[in-house]
Amino acid sequence: MEYLEFELPIKELEDQLQKCKIIGEESEVDVTETCQQIEKKLAAAQKDIYKNLTAWQRVQLSRHPERPYTLDHIRAICGDSFLELHGDRSFKDDKAMIGGLGKIGDQSFMFIGQQKGFNTKTRQYRNFGMANPEGYRKALRLMKSAEKFGIPVVTLLDTPGAYPGLEAEERGQGEAIARNILEMTRLKVPVITIVIGEGASGGALGIGVGDRVLMLENTWYSVISPESCSSILWRSWEYKEQAAEALKLTAVDMKKLKLVDDIIKEPLGGAHRDRDKTFKAVSDAIVKSYETLKNLSPEDLVSQRMEKYANMGVYKG
């Protein structure tokens, strides 16, 4: 288990508890009471730390190296029913954007999401979850295919941003994202969107226009990463904590601003601490959301979605 800096007090207590148990097993000394005391302290420390997470700490948790990624979720939720589909039919198959069909219970869903890697090699293979234009076009192809057959769409958002590369610009990164956003506003099947990690700007929104938009508890969603915001507005990378606070990018803030619909609770300490529990929570949230949408006519679905996005914004006059 990897620990973040702010989790070190917890790690220390966990190590102590481990040692205490070993002593108990290997010697005659009665450690029950000592162990209990450490456990108490540990529970208090966990509560203290995880119940009062700052915005920046949540950003760190959203990027935790052991956090479950898109394919982990889909494989856990759909099991063997998942069939991955590839390619944008015009340029190539973007490994940073995955998609495919799978079942939850009796219902088929089209799953789409950005995919990160879990070690150096796979991180490069997945381009760190930063899709190119062909990734967005692949996503749109799958959404249109789902629309054609009346299959609901589930998008899982986890990206530090769309890839800002030379070739990405040549192939129209802006156009690809813009096209997806527009087409998603009028897609005639239910769209359920869940931020499972990082929701960075247009790169996230490019597959993120949904009837129901949910965020896992320790994720972030904003127009820019706290680091980039710090470098632009403060002209230094040092102010990322302040930037994270200022951007109001946590799930709680986003719900307060009515930009997302609901929050999915994570196990104490983050999604990676109990992956199965996380997968179950995500699966339940998809089913629950789908229940509220499945009986709407395509016209009602689209007009409600359009209405929702048309109302976003705060101004005077």
């Binding site: 590369g165 129209g172 956003i181 700007s201 127009v223 915001c229 632009i232 951007l247 705060v314």
Partner: protein
């Protein structure tokens, strides 16, 4: 013999008597050409020396597009609020105040309806001078309402983009303006009302990732910077030297993302020619 002889030491001319060059009499283009500003105005703000298209704002574009500079401005009094209580080195309301005082504008876009070559046209034009033409709630709402006006009255819509992207001080609210404006453009498209996107120097970030790239035609002026990620970010991320002309309008035309590039003097004609052709109406001369 010395040819220069000052009779009394020091400068004796009083400040009032000094012959000052009034500000704004000359314009210097990036290639170093000096142009008389009056000349510039007469030439659609294009340098007659080197064809450089000077960055202009809504005031100038309205003047270029609307007959006799006559138009009705829409939603004139919409202003930004500070929903996030955003503060970096400055508070957001202070930034707004400074921008308003400096530019005499309410926010980074103005929308209007008027006659262009005798027929109604709705124009939304961004102003780069206002916090880098950044798109926050007001920009999103005004463009959405302009599209609504087009929809209700069956008038073609033209959006002139000139923006660094979404406004950071409104964070995710700015981001959602991409979706909001796209909703309206989808409705416009379903109603088969022409939408023309003019990308001017510069059009980057969230603007490119929404309405700027969604026109029935996307057009531009010569030499404009258009892209999703800014050139500095692309260079820093990839570590590659950027090719000559990267992300210029000519580059986008070549890669298939623009329908054509027009000189500013031909803009009004070209836009109306397209509208007449696509709506199958007689061409206006």
């Amino acid at each position: 013999m010395s040819w220069f002889k000052r009779k009394t030491a020091g400068i004796t001319t009083t400040t009032e008597e000094k012959k000052d060059t009034p500000k704004g009499l000359w314009y210097k283009s990036p290639t170093g050409k000096i142009v008389d500003t009056e000349e510039l105005e007469k030439n659609f703000y294009v340098s007659p020396e080197d064809g450089y298209h000077v960055r202009i704002g809504s005031k100038e574009y309205f003047e270029i597009l609307f007959d006799d500079n006559k138009f009705k401005e829409l939603d004139k009094n919409l202003e930004s609020k500070d929903p996030l209580k955003f503060e970096d080195t400055k508070k957001y309301p202070e930034r707004l105040k400074v921008a308003q005082d400096k530019t005499k504008l309410k926010d980074a876009v103005r929308t209007a309806v008027g006659k262009s070559k005798g027929k109604d046209l709705v124009v939304a034009c961004m102003d780069f001078a206002f916090i880098g033409g950044s798109m926050g709630s007001v920009v999103g709402e005004k463009i959405a309402r302009a599209a609504d006006y087009s929809l209700k009255n069956n008038i073609p819509l033209m959006v002139i983009s000139k923006s660094g992207g979404a406004r950071m001080m409104e964070a995710a609210l700015s981001l959602m303006q991409l979706a909001k404006t796209s909703v309206k453009l989808a409705q416009l498209s379903d109603a088969k009302i022409p939408y023309i996107s003019l990308c001017t120097d510069p059009t980057t970030g969230g603007t490119t990732a929404s309405f700027a790239m969604l026109g029935d035609i996307n057009i531009s002026e010569p030499g404009a910077l258009i892209g999703f990620a800014g050139p500095r970010i692309v260079r820093d991320t990839t570590g590659k030297e950027l090719p000559e002309g990267f992300q210029t309008s000519e580059f986008l035309l070549e890669h298939g993302f623009l329908d054509f590039i027009t000189l500013r003097k031909d803009l009004k004609d070209k836009v109306n020619q397209y509208i007449d052709l696509i709506t199958n109406q007689p061409l206006r001369s």
